[in-house]
Every structure is written in structure tokens, then in C-alpha cells.
């Protein structure tokens, strides 16, 4: 059997089997309701409707994130390949693209299951959403076709359009459209989700639609759009790095090892690069939530969800530490990197302290009983480090440190020979120091009694120098090392096995983090389907404990990786690589 043919058969099967399964599970649900069709809710056997929707929606979202993010950076690496003429980049791009068709089908399947289950299990709520958003459904279908068409075209025409420069750029154009369709699709889905948190465009009293655009462009739409795009890229990069690690572990010769090591490096680079602005996007989202409804932000930061942010901080800590660790182990394969080894301990300390400060909660409720006893929603032990200014400072410093790791990694095997190297180097040090000092200065100045609104302004003064430093240092770094003297080539492939597990750790952590933040985003609206508009009247109107939520999220993550393993495994059949 030709591998191509095999893949097609399998894709067919993966579409059909879940549909059968779905039908099977849905049957009792359907049968149960012929008697009384007016039900608002239906029960899902065994695990309850809420959990069923939770799992399916989450899986759909994770695959969607993957399918959205991979084309984004594949397009970038493809363009780099075309511009530099480096065949390596083209191969890498194609290899990642190979994962897309199957992943796309899985996304679509979960999407379809989700819709069917929403209609079946939450008919009233879904009915209302449809009432509001029916106008967008056609657009959605159109975008969906657009995306499938461009996606398959992008993949299947890769080799055919590679030969001439003109057709290659044509291929890049398909990629651009693929990204446009994908992003628009996500924006639309975001509108529905955000409407549930911050409904807009409806009449205040009857809740009927007054403006479709108002419903789409509701208060949290843009913040979520921005946050999700960035997070998706980071997530996609991390999964791609995990893919490379997977291949690395299984590869035979040193050539293959070198290839996958390099690929993992690129994937991880993309993930890190997107990780850096993510906290800022998170703060932007929080600001907007605060502006939309102050009660939501107090629930988010001050209620029992405060504990969730400790877990979040642990996960983000894992991400930053792992990323730094990966870069540092990578330095072993770079001749000349010894020069920078001594900084690592300093950076390590910096990252650890930063994360520890970040983890210190501001407002802590041990339990609602305790809050009652204390007579306040706030813990008496609000300490110095639990304050927002301290946290902002810590985050900014951790980001600066990670950036420093990256800069050192970049120059590890190079010696600058430019005449202005001393000036350039001094300038870079100056920028780093300047940014760090500014961050500290404004961090310290924004503690109380500085009023809140001024402190908020200061937090922007902290971010700007960090972003400035990243841009400025890179602006010097690139020309500085353009014509540098290499101290020997990077020995790609010389990576310890544990570093590959670190890549897996990063990918898993990203997935867990996504699940966790999705839980809180959805959880703060409390017992509402649509905040302030439609109350959740089902038995599941409560917010589960964090322990329960983390269990569900973990199970979803394991299932997701199961599917991902399947995608990885399948992708080896469709390839053109000659073994």
C-alpha cells in the first residue's frame, strides 16, 4: 500500500469512528427527551453535561490553537527559507505542515461534536446564542471552507510550487491566506465566547439583539483576541518543539539528530519569543475586565481564585526556568560558550527569586468560612511581596533575564569583529542595566501610599523600557555579529536526552496552563451562562474546586497528547523523505 493511500484511509477512519461513537452516546440523550421537548438542559450519561462539554471544548480549542499557530510560524520560516535560500528552512516548514491535515480534521471533528453536544445538552442556552449570532454563522462556514481549502492547497502544492521563484511566492501567498482565514475564524469564535462574559449589542431589558456588531465587538473581544493569538503561537511553538524532541529521541544517525535538534531549537525559540509578551497581554485583559465590571476583577483576583494564580505562577515558573535551562544546556554544544557559563548561576538566582515573588499571593482566602471569621475578603497577612508592584517588577526582571539568556546563547560561538564592538557592547550593557534599574525604580515607587491609578501608570513605565531594551539590544546585536568570527560551528545534535524531556515538559506545561486559564476565564462569571443575562439553572451552576478542575484539565491534557502522538505517528507516512 502506498503511504499516501494509507494516510487517506486513516483520515477517513478518524472521521467516521468518532461520529459513530458520538451517535452511540447521544442516543440515550435523544431518546430521553422525546417526551418533553421543552427541557432547558439534558443530562449526559456518566460524567454529566458540564464535564462532557468541558472536555470536548477544551480538546477542540487545543487542536484549534495548534492548527492556527503552526501555519503562522511555518509561513515565517518558509519566507526565511525563500529569502535566504537556505533549504533547511524549507524542509523544516514542510515537515511541520505535514502535521496539519490530520490535526485539522481532528479539530473539525471536535468542533462538530461540540456543536452537536451544545445543542443537545444545553438547548435553551444554545438557542439564545444562535438567536444572537445566527448572522455570523454563515461567515463562519465561509471562513471554514476558506481555511480547509487553503490548508490542503498549501500542503499538497508544496513540492510542485517549489521549483520556480514565482510559484514559490505564489505558495507563500496561499500561506498568507491560510493564516488570514484561520485568524478570522478564531476571532469569530472568540466573539461568541466573550459574549458569554461581557455581552454587548443587546437590549438591557429584553436581552434581544440590537446590534450584531455590538455583540461581536463586545468589551472583552479584543483583549481575548490579542491574548489568544500570542498564546497560540507560544503553544504551537512548544508543541512543534515537542514533536522535534520526539523525533530526536527516535532518530538513528547523527544527521537526523542534528536536524531535529535544530528544529527543536527553532520551535522553542518561537515559543519563548511569544511567551515574553504574554504576561503583558494578560495584564491588558485584566485591565479590560476591570473596566468592564469591577466585580469580575475582584472575583478573579480576590476570591478563592487567588489560589489559582499560585498554580499559574508555578506553571509559568516551570516554563521560564525550563526555557532558560534548555538554552543553558544548549550552550554545551557551542564552542566558545564557556565564556558565559559564569553568568548562569546569577541568572538562575534571578529567575528563581522572580518566580517566588510572583507566586506570593496578594489576596488570599483560605476558605469562605475563614473570610467570614476574618470579616474581610482579604488576608491579614498581605505582605509586601504579594503586592502588584512587586509582582510587576518580578515579571519584568524574569523576562529581562530570559532575554539575556537568549542573547548570550546567540553570541556563544561568535566573537564580534566590528570596529565599534566595544561601543556596541557597552551600549547593550547600558540598556540592560538601564531597563533593570528603571523597572526597580518604578517598582519601588509604586508601593502604597502611591495611589492605585499612579501605580498603574508606573507599571507601564516598567514595561516600556523592557520592550525598548529587547528591541534596542537586538538592533545592536544583529549588525554587531553579522560579520563575526566564529569559534567553531554549533554541534547540532549534541544534546543530552534530558534536554528533550525539558521540551516535553514545556509543551505539557503550556497545555495545562491553557486549560487552567480557560477555567478561570470561564469561572469568574459565576453562575451565569451569559453574564448578567442568562442564569445557569442547571445542577452544575456551581464552580468546582480547583482540585477537581485540575483533575479534569490533566485528563484532557493526557487525551490531547494521546491524539497528538497519533498525529505525529501518522505524519511519518505521508512524507516525501526517503528513509
Amino acid at each position: 500500500m502506498r503511504p499516501d493511500c494509507f494516510q487517506r484511509k486513516l483520515s477517513f477512519l478518524i472521521i467516521i469512528i468518532p461520529l459513530f461513537l458520538l451517535f452511540y452516546v447521544a442516543c440515550p440523550a435523544l431518546a430521553q427527551d422525546i417526551k418533553d421537548v421543552v427541557k432547558d438542559y439534558r443530562h449526559f450519561p456518566l460524567i454529566s453535561s458540564r464535564i462532557a462539554i468541558w472536555v470536548i471544548a477544551e480538546l477542540h480549542l487545543m487542536f484549534a490553537a495548534f492548527v492556527l499557530a503552526v501555519p503562522m510560524f511555518v509561513l515565517i520560516t518558509e519566507i526565511i527559507g525563500v529569502c535566504t535560500g537556505d533549504e533547511k528552512f524549507d524542509r523544516l516548514s514542510k515537515e511541520f505542515t505535514k502535521l496539519l491535515p490530520v490535526a485539522f480534521s481532528i479539530t473539525a471533528i471536535f468542533g462538530a461534536i461540540l456543536i452537536v453536544m451544545l445543542i443537545g445538552l444545553y438547548p435553551k442556552f444554545t438557542g439564545y446564542l444562535m438567536e444572537i449570532f445566527s448572522g455570523t454563522m454563515y461567515v463562519y462556514v465561509f471562513l471554514f471552507f476558506g481555511e480547509s481549502f487553503t490548508l490542503y492547497a498549501y500542503y499538497y502544492t508544496w513540492d510542485r510550487m517549489k521549483d520556480s521563484r514565482v510559484t514559490k511566492w505564489g505558495h507563500v501567498t496561499i500561506g498568507v491566506f491560510l493564516n488570514l482565514f484561520g485568524t478570522a475564524l478564531m476571532f469569530l469564535a472568540n466573539a461568541w465566547v466573550c459574549f458569554m462574559m461581557s455581552p454587548g449589542g443587546i437590549d438591557e431589558n429584553t436581552y434581544a439583539l440590537t446590534s450584531l456588531w455590538g455583540a461581536v465587538h463586545n468589551p472583552l473581544w479584543w483583549p481575548i483576541n490579542v491574548h489568544r493569538i500570542i498564546a497560540n503561537v507560544a503553544f504551537g511553538g512548544a508543541i512543534a518543539a515537542a514533536y522535534s524532541a520526539f523525533k530526536f529521541l527516535g532518530s538513528k544517525g547523527p544527521d537526523e539528530k542534528a536536524h531535529y535538534d535544530w528544529m527543536a531549537y527553532i520551535g522553542n525559540f518561537i515559543a519563548t519569543f511569544a511567551l515574553i509578551p504574554l504576561p503583558f497581554a494578560g495584564y491588558y485583559l485584566a485591565f479590560e475586565i476591570r473596566k468592564y465590571d469591577f466585580a469580575l476583577i475582584t472575583i478573579l483576583m480576590g476570591g478563592s481564585f487567588a489560589w489559582l494564580f499560585i498554580i499559574q505562577a508555578v506553571l509559568i515558573g516551570v516554563l521560564f526556568i525550563s526555557t532558560n535551562y534548555y538554552l543553558w544546556t544548549g550552550m554545551n554544544k557551542i564552542p566558545g560558550a564557556e565564556r558565559y557559563k559564569k553568568f548562569i548561576i546569577f541568572m538562575l538566582t534571578m529567575v528563581f527569586i522572580g518566580i517566588a515573588v510572583w507566586m506570593t499571593p496578594h489576596t488570599m482566602v483560605a476558605s469562605i468560612e475563614e473570610a467570614r471569621k476574618m470579616g474581610a475578603a482579604h488576608h491579614p497577612l498581605l505582605d509586601f511581596f504579594g503586592q502588584m508592584p512587586a509582582k510587576n517588577t518580578a515579571v519584568n526582571l524574569v523576562i529581562l533575564t530570559t532575554f539575556l539568556s537568549f542573547v548570550l546563547y546567540r553570541r556563544a560561538n561568535k566573537v564580534a569583529t566590528a570596529t565599534w564592538r566595544h561601543v556596541g557592547g557597552a551600549l547593550q550593557i547600558f540598556m540592560f542595566a538601564g531597563a533593570a534599574i528603571t523597572v526597580l525604580y518604578f517598582g519601588i515607587s509604586s508601593f502604597p501610599p502611591t495611589p492605585k491609578d499612579i501605580a498603574i501608570r508606573y507599571s507601564i513605565y516598567q514595561v516600556l523600557p523592557v520592550i525598548g531594551c529587547i528591541i534596542g539590544v537586538m538592533g545592536i546585536d544583529i549588525p554587531l555579529f553579522k560579520k563575526s568570527k566564529p569559534l567553531g560551528g554549533i554541534r547540532w545534535g549534541e544534546m543530552p536526552v534530558r534536554s528533550q524531556y525539558i521540551l516535553f515538559l514545556i509543551a505539557i506545561t503550556f497545555t495545562l496552563l491553557m486549560g487552567l486559564m480557560g477555567f478561570v476565564r470561564s469561572g469568574i462569571r459565576g453562575p451565569w451562562h451569559v453574564y448578567g443575562v442568562m442564569k445557569d439553572a442547571s445542577e452544575a451552576a456551581f464552580t468546582p474546586t480547583l482540585g477537581f478542575a485540575t483533575t479534569v484539565i490533566s485528563i484532557v491534557t493526557v487525551i490531547f497528547f494521546g491524539f497528538i502522538a497519533f498525529v505525529f505517528w501518522l505524519s511519518q507516512f505521508g512524507g516525501t523523505r526517503k528513509e
Partner: protein, 275 residues
């Protein structure tokens, strides 16, 4: 295969660690709030009010019951005593009702406007009885809450109960509820009043039809007049070239059905600033 297995174990281990972490912190289930039973006695009301105040994602998320220097919203201890002194001429009962139905009418010093939402509206969505209960509870925090006070609260609430229904503009005094000129400015824009009228802030718009310039209109006219002009343009027709159509009626549309109450009030508030 060996790699695959160890990867599987690794994934399970990380996910397991996460579950462990999630379960090692205090487990709080944020409850679905059932209905509160309210009996119309002093104890019955304060008890019910207390449970409304303290339940999840209700008042206690913002307010505190005790000194807390970093609390985001006013501490409620002693509010029963303070309430009668907050606004001159307003009794404690009246003040409580105003601060829960219309929190921005009086903003406690040091706190920004607009943070607290009217409690009869989502997300709190308390019904009238629940509001009496919760204000009764606040009343009892430092105040002397007795049978008499129940009556006072109920009377003070009357005004808000019929907050929305008709206002007899013609004879009675025109009472203006909460409204902001800024919102009115937006309504003016949304309703495209500028298609006919010139007004401050709409200098870039060129009216398509002839109608009075609204610059300085408030120097001569009051709220009642604006109410009429918007809702019943034909009651008083200003004389001017092109102001009336062939049927002898004002060309200005009647805005009976297209404005919500709040939009109308805001619009009037905006017009009132055009001195």
C-alpha cells in the same frame, strides 16, 4: 518503543504533579446560591440579609467587614451609624436604598465612581425583598435596627420600585434620575441628531436638514422643555425656515420608541450642558 513508553510515563507524571498541586491547596467550591427564605421580622431580615451579603460573589467580594487598609471597597462595620450622616437631609433608610439602587448617586470619598453596580440589576439581581433584607443587615451594623426601621426601609424603597414607570412630565415636577452628559453625547451621536442639529462636539458634521442650532440652547430652556422637544416635537414647534413639513408638523421625528429611558435622561442631561 522504549522512548515512547518513557514519554508516556513522563506525561502522566507531569499531569499527576499538576493534579497533586491543584489538590494540595484549600478546596473551595463556589456554591450555587439557592433562594433565601425571608421572614419579615427584625431577626428574620437581618439573618437573611447577612447570608445574602456573605454568600459567594456577592457583596463580600468587594466590601469588607472590618478594618483592612488595603480593602478595595468600603468597610461595612458601623455603616448603620454612618448612613444617616452621609447625605444631609437623608435618613439612614433612604441612604441605604439609594446606595444600593443607584450607587453612583453618592460616591463614598476615596472610591471611584462606577465600580458598584445597582444590586437589582445583574450580576447581583436581587429582588425587592432581598434588597430590604440586605439593607436591613447593613442597618444593623452599628445602627439601631427595629420594627420601625423595617417600615422606613420599605417606604424608602417605594421610590425605586417604581423607578421605571411613567413620569408625569406635564404637571408634576420633572425629576431627573441618574444620567450623565457624556452618555447623552453618545446618544446624540447614535441617534444621529446631528443630521439636523448643530451642537458642540459635532462641528465636523454638516446638518442635512434645517433645524435649530443647539449651541447655547440650555441658556433658555430647561429639562422639561427638552423632554417635550424630543418625545413630542409637535407640542411646541420652533419657527424657522424648513422646520415643518408639508403636513404642518415638525420634521423632527418623535423619539417615543427608539430611546430607552436611560438614553432619554442622558440626552437631556447632555442638552442641559449646552449653556
Amino acid at each position: 518503543m522504549k522512548n515512547f513508553l518513557s514519554l508516556c510515563i513522563f506525561i502522566f507524571a507531569v499531569a499527576g504533579g499538576f493534579v497533586y498541586l491543584g489538590n494540595s491547596i484549600p478546596q473551595i467550591k463556589q456554591g450555587a446560591t439557592g433562594p433565601v427564605t425571608i421572614t419579615l421580622t427584625v431577626e428574620g431580615l437581618t439573618e437573611a440579609g447577612k447570608s445574602i451579603f456573605e454568600r459567594e460573589n456577592s457583596c463580600l467580594t468587594c466590601h469588607s467587614l472590618g478594618e483592612d487598609p488595603k480593602a478595595r471597597c468600603p468597610n461595612m462595620i458601623g455603616v448603620g451609624e454612618r448612613a444617616s450622616q452621609r447625605k444631609p437631609g437623608m435618613s439612614a433608610a433612604e441612604y441605604f436604598m439609594e446606595s444600593v439602587y443607584s450607587p453612583d448617586a453618592f460616591v463614598v470619598e476615596g472610591y471611584p465612581k462606577g465600580q458598584m453596580k445597582p444590586v437589582n440589576r445583574p450580576p447581583a439581581s436581587l429582588n425587592d425583598d432581598e434588597i430590604v433584607a440586605v439593607t436591613a443587615y447593613l442597618y444593623s451594623l452599628g445602627g439601631n435596627f427595629d420594627q420601625d426601621a423595617i417600615q422606613k426601609l420599605a417606604t424608602a424603597q417605594e421610590k425605586y420600585k417604581k423607578f421605571v414607570p411613567t413620569i408625569e412630565v406635564a404637571e408634576a415636577e420633572f425629576l431627573m434620575p441618574e444620567a450623565y452628559p457624556e452618555d447623552g453625547f453618545d446618544v446624540f451621536n447614535e441617534m444621529k441628531c446631528w443630521q439636523c442639529h448643530k451642537a458642540p462636539g459635532f462641528e465636523d458634521k454638516e446638518p442635512e436638514k434645517s433645524a435649530p442650532d443647539l449651541h447655547g440652547v440650555a441658556a433658555m430652556q430647561d429639562a422639561e422643555y427638552f423632554y417635550d422637544s424630543i418625545v413630542f416635537p409637535n407640542k411646541v414647534i420652533v419657527k424657522g425656515e424648513g422646520y415643518v413639513g408639508e403636513d404642518g408638523r415638525s420634521i423632527m421625528p418623535e423619539f417615543h420608541d427608539s430611546l430607552t429611558l436611560r438614553q432619554l435622561y442622558s440626552l437631556i442631561a447632555f442638552l442641559q450642558t449646552l449653556k
